[in-house]
């Protein structure tokens, strides 16, 4: 199902070249299981697109395919008008595509500052730099300090990632993704495991940062309050296919979505 063609009010989206991020026929099967099945998606520049769907719908696999952490069985990934399907994963941040992980993926025994600094240094110096004299150190460190302040972690700069609270670890993941200086940001359940106050604060942070930096954001999120409050549009994923893409109102009103996914959550909405 192609969300682009189905929307005449977004004619530009029919061409993957015109979206900030697009997929065409993106498919990945693991043996007999088709985890992501011919997904056509177009996210225009500056949009915050939430991806929702039941467990096992293929949301994280879709992220892994877009980042090329895993390779698609079929289909293409487009970033800023360019087919990036065959470029390596480690090129992504240098092309303006970054992610934060669902599970806390951090450099655990390094301090919060070093976690961000290493990413900032990589963004500034490129995928490889034989900087043995520390020439780029102060610039990267200034950028890392700024991002820790922006994400509310300035008090924990010298704390090792493994000793941070769960919520701080999630925010550190966001700070690291931001340190790549992205155009398109993929966030995989950034609020999972957080209490209500922390969740709200993190959602506000994401919303604020994306308008400040003009980011295009793809957000996997289970908390429907968050999704409805900050998403421009929502794509509903079910069994590896896009069931429906639309504004929060459109998605809530859609019968097939109600049936397939939101049935159990109707009262919550």
């Amino acid at each position: 199902m192609s969300d682009g063609e189905a929307r005449p009010d977004h004619p530009a989206e029919s061409r993957p070249e015109d979206a900030a991020l697009a997929t065409r026929g993106l498919t990945r099967s693991f043996g007999a299981l088709v985890a992501v099945d011919a997904v056509d998606m177009s996210v225009p520049e500056g949009e915050l697109r939430a991806i929702i769907g039941p467990n096992g719908a293929g949301k994280t696999t879709l992220f892994n395919l877009i980042m090329r952490t895993i390779h698609p069985s079929d289909g293409t990934v487009w970033l800023g008008g360019r087919d990036i399907t065959d470029t390596s994963e480690q090129r992504s941040p240098h092309l303006g595509l970054a992610r934060s992980f669902q599970s806390n993926q951090l450099f655990t025994n390094l301090t919060a500052l070093e976690n961000v600094r290493i990413v900032a240094q990589t963004a500034q110096a490129g995928p490889f730099s034989l900087d043995l004299l520390g020439r780029g150190k102060s610039v990267a460190e200034a950028e890392a300090t700024r991002l820790l302040e922006r994400t509310g972690l300035e008090g924990n700069a010298d704390v090792e990632a493994t000793n941070l609270s769960h919520g701080d670890q999630r925010r550190l993941g966001i700070a690291m993704a931001l340190a790549t200086d992205p155009d398109v940001l993929l966030l995989d359940e950034p609020t999972s495991g957080m209490g209500p106050t922390e969740t709200r604060a993190t959602a506000d942070l994401i919303d604020a940062v994306r308008s400040e930096l003009g980011l295009t954001v793809l957000l996997i999120e289970h908390d429907m309050d968050i999704v409805l409050s900050i998403a421009d549009r929502i794509s509903v994923l079910n069994q590896g296919t896009v069931l429906k893409t639309g504004t929060p109102d459109e998605v809530q009103a859609d019968d097939s979505v109600q049936e397939a996914y939101l049935g159990g959550m109707k009262e919550e909405l």
Binding site: E114, I118, L130
Partner: protein, 373 residues
């Protein structure tokens, strides 16, 4: 057991700067100087080895172990063939000097370069393999090199006997003591070696504290994350392997001079294995861990192989001598026990972790007393 948080809490009790001086910036250079200054008097004491020659050997192995730790401790790569680079440095220098009559300084430089270049090429070939295949491939290359050296191709390597007499005229042996003759002066070889070792270790330290080295640590911590953050993980690993080869080659060149030749065992699996054990014994998470491991390992080896009789002074006039020759033939067993005990007590942090912990405890007690006064 020691974990990162505990280490941090301990370290937070130490002062970080005195006046305008950041202690982190002088800790390693001062430590290295202290090692060179104190090592020989310590091992010469009658309680320990009782003679000086082993001090030079220990210095060289400290450098070799530190070069290995670039891989294991700082990049998370386990190589079973690090002897290859020690042997390459030694063999190229010795063969160049004896077979082609080139000045020793020139062949030493060539030895380090060859070792570095071979490390780069092997690294390019194997870093992207999984951990087990990487380890096996390094082992394979080292074994192949030992086989070739044993065959004595073109009469270059001396076969099973190795190369002997590969010393320049300025390297003087006088009644078992080694000297370096410069101008009219005879410098004690130990101090010349000490300077070379300190410079080598300082260079390693600069590598690990540089942005390049911090990225290696990130790769050790989580290479999948590093990759997704845009780090060219394989290339960093290749260069880590290259630097490890460079400094191992330097250790090899120095070792060649120290033993005035080469021995086939330099390329052996035993050497590759010893440097792994020393590094883990000493504590791979610390810069000073592998040197500490080399020190303890070589000294223990020396004590366990050479001392057959233990003299216990009971009173001023009676000394009980216990014949240990029967027990100490099992010296490798005792080294093994030492290794197992330390690793069980202090995994990752090793002997150096235990020393630091004890040191910090003493410091804490003294600090507490001062505070109370």
């Amino acid at each position: 057991m020691i974990d990162g948080g505990m280490l941090r809490r301990i370290e937070s009790r130490l002062p970080e700067r005195i006046g305008g001086l950041d202690l982190q910036d002088v800790r390693v250079p001062v430590g290295l100087l202290l090692i060179v200054l104190l090592l020989r008097p310590i091992v010469s004491s009658s309680l320990l080895a009782g003679y000086e020659q082993i001090a030079s050997t220990i210095l060289i192995w400290m450098l070799f172990a530190a070069s290995f730790n670039l891989l294991l401790g700082y990049t998370g790569l386990l190589s079973f063939g690090h002897a290859l680079f020690l042997g390459l440095g030694a063999y190229v220098a010795a063969a160049g000097h004896t077979r082609f009559g080139l000045p020793w300084i020139v062949v030493a430089a060539i030895g380090v370069l060859v070792s570095t270049g071979v490390a780069y090429l092997i690294g390019r070939l194997i870093v992207q393999k999984g951990a087990i295949y990487f380890a096996m491939l390094t082992l394979g290359f080292a074994q192949a090199a030992q086989y070739v050296a044993n065959q004595n191709p073109f009469d270059l390597t001396g076969g099973s006997a190795g190369i002997s007499g590969a010393t320049p005229a300025w390297f003087v042996l006088d009644r078992g003591e080694k000297f370096v003759a410069v101008g009219g002066l005879q410098l004690d070889w130990y101090w010349v070696l000490g300077i070379a070792t300190v410079l080598g270790m300082l260079a390693i330290w600069q590598v690990v504290r540089s942005p390049f080295g911090r990225t290696l640590i990130a790769i050790r911590e989580n290479d999948a994350l590093a990759r997704s953050m845009g780090v060219n993980v394989d290339r960093y690993k290749v260069w880590s392997f290259t630097f490890a080869g460079l400094f191992a080659g330097l250790a090899g060149v120095l070792l060649q001079l120290n033993i005035q030749g080469t021995r086939l065992e330099l390329l052996s699996l035993a050497v590759s294995g010893d440097v792994i054990l020393m590094t883990i014994l000493g504590g791979s998470v610390y810069f000073f861990g592998p040197p500490a491991g080399a020190f303890v390992w070589l000294l223990a080896e020396e004590l366990l192989t050479d001392f057959e009789t233990l003299h216990l002074p009971l009173t001023e006039f009676s000394v009980v001598s216990v014949d240990l020759s029967g027990v100490l033939t099992y010296w490798q067993f005792f080294l093994g026990v030492l290794f197992v005990v330390v690793v069980l007590l202090s995994p990752m942090a090793g002997i150096w972790g235990l020393v630091r912990r004890a040191g910090n405890r003493i410091y804490g007690v003294i600090g507490g007393l001062i505070y109370r006064v």
